[in-house]
Amino acid sequence: MDYTRQEMMAIATGREFKDGELAIFGVGLSMLAGFFAQRNHAPGLMAFTEGGVYGSTPVGGLPWGIEDNRISANAVSFTNAIDALGFLVASGRVDNAVIGAAEVDKYGNVNTTGIWAPDTEPWKVGKYTLPRVRLNGSGGANEIATGAKKYLLMVTHEKKRFNEKVAYISSPGYLDGGNTREKYGFPGGGPSAMITTLGILRPDPVTKEFILTGYYPFSSIEEIKENTGWDLKVAPDVQVIPEPTEKELENLRAVDVTGSLRKK
């Protein structure tokens, strides 16, 4: 079957959503995955945006941003950011969500804030030096990371993005692993999976280190280990993730009207 790695990642992400869940997606890839799930197997998925746009589906293609008119044209309710990110996300009500990352580490911590020159990262030098490249900041991902019952990290699988430790924690995963996250009393449970262009990693229940639990028909354990910046452990029951079914691909492409995921 003909599909791209991006499409596989979106479908694998979409499969994680169950009917009736309360969910929040960002723009782009994660929104595609979510609306794919709603169309494919979870018609009662309740999705909303960071700004409090409820009950809508995109019209005229994927929105340029989450408050774009493309997501506002058929809403049943518009409220505000405190409602969406405070009352629903940070409070612990959301069942599942997706966030992206420029960089992740083995405990699922996410950096979307900046890239530092080697050995100038704040935690290495004990001060907050300027980043070499300023990224976008945490946005609403921090509320998801601290508040959602569980959430998914959706990341392009490249070695430079998968590091032992991220330069800057924009959105906390399991911090230093084990029970180090618990100190902060977050209502949310932490990341349940990293779904990448090459496979799926899930946290070890005790150490919270992300280990490889699945790879795609087109990838391999070796390829994934090569593209991961820490010594990636492999689950004893690691599995090949089923490729997209025809129905899944059809539903994904019906959502991805502009074919943004088909570009290789």
Partner: protein, 327 residues
């Protein structure tokens, strides 16, 4: 509610903004409603050393940063979503011109709400256990920082959470879909942080896409989330969100979004951009600059029906000019 607060964009920027002020803007996310033409006017008159509380970057803050007018910014998201990094702001941060203090998209509006309530601090479980808490651009020498979001103990359960400062800007400019001359306003689409911002700021200027008769407020009082009593000035700002979108009125101008952001990448590009899109006299002139072709394209929005109930109350340009002259 017996006095018109309608003034021109030029007057609003002259009378209410100043170098070094602590400024709030609102604002949906990067591509949504924000008072972009108010930022253009501030850039035109050369406002500088601005300290901004922003739930989110937009082309307004991107432009102000690009010209070097942004001293400091507290923000939740500094990009332009699908349009990429905000090049003007990115450049200002990387060169150290702008001090960027990071919070999240949820924390900034809640800190504004706390400002509106005049609370001493807010205890929360967000932005802690991560570098939003440990890294402070205002106090970079101390990492991990313990003063930006200090730990505080819940007196009821003994749990540890983070304490946040409230936000109380000196001045806020807020885009609204419709406003009357007294300062009552209706927003279509997500409010994002605009409701809280209108309550926490010392001075509030509304930038309205449409000036309407007060009759619409009396018919739809539940839509009037910003009443006259918290408003100091009303500015007619047609296409004031362009090239971003204003729900019910116009879509994002995708081409200009990319073009503008590309130009703001360098100082030269920024100057070139301002030569082309920073030279106009008043808002009527500015609409001409946007141009009929663009206007025709962006006003074909799928959200247009949202404006239908209110059209009968909209004031024409001629009526607005008369209201301004009559003062």
């Amino acid at each position: 509610m017996n006095k018109s607060k309608l003034i021109t964009m030029k007057e609003a920027v002259e009378q209410y903004t100043y170098d070094g002020m602590y400024f709030g803007h609102g604002g949906a996310l990067p591509v949504g409603s924000d008072c972009i033409s108010f930022f253009r006017e501030m850039v035109k008159v050369g406002r500088k050393d601005i300290d901004i509380a922003s739930n989110c970057n937009s082309q307004g803050t991107n432009l102000l940063a690009a010209v070097g007018g942004l001293k400091r910014m507290e923000v939740g998201f500094s990009g332009l979503e699908v349009y990429g990094f905000a090049n003007g702001l990115k450049r200002a941060v990387e060169t150290g011109q702008t001090v960027l203090e990071d919070y999240s998209n949820g924390a900034i509006p809640i800190r504004m709400m706390a400002g509106a309530l005049n609370w001493p601090f807010i205890p929360m479980f967000m932005n802690t256990g991560c570098d939003q808490q440990w890294a402070s651009a205002d106090d970079p020498e101390n990492y991990p920082n313990t003063k930006k979001i200090p730990e505080i103990t819940d007196p009821f359960t003994g749990r540890i959470c983070g304490a946040f400062t409230p936000i109380k800007p000196d001045v806020a400019a807020i885009h609204v879909t419709m406003a009357d001359i007294y300062g009552n306003a209706i927003m279509l689409g997500t409010e994002w942080n605009r409701y809280e911002l209108s309550r926490c700021s010392k001075k509030v200027i509304l930038c309205a896409d449409k000036i309407v008769d007060t009759g619409v407020m009396r018919q739809y009082p539940n839509l009037v989330r910003i009443p006259y009593i918290v408003v100091d000035a009303v500015v007619y700002a047609p296409f004031g969100v362009w090239p971003q979108c204003s729900t019910g009125l116009y879509d994002s101008d995708e081409e200009h979004m990319y073009y503008m952001n590309k130009m703001l990448k360098t100082e030269e590009g920024t100057n070139e951009y301002l030569q082309a899109f920073g030279q106009y006299d008043d808002v009527f002139d500015y609409v001409n600059l946007v141009g009929q072709e663009r206007i025709d394209k962006i006003t074909k929005t799928d959200t247009a029906f949202l404006m239908d109930p209110y059209r009968q109350w909209i004031k024409t340009d001629a009526e607005i000019k008369e209201l301004l002259e009559r003062r």
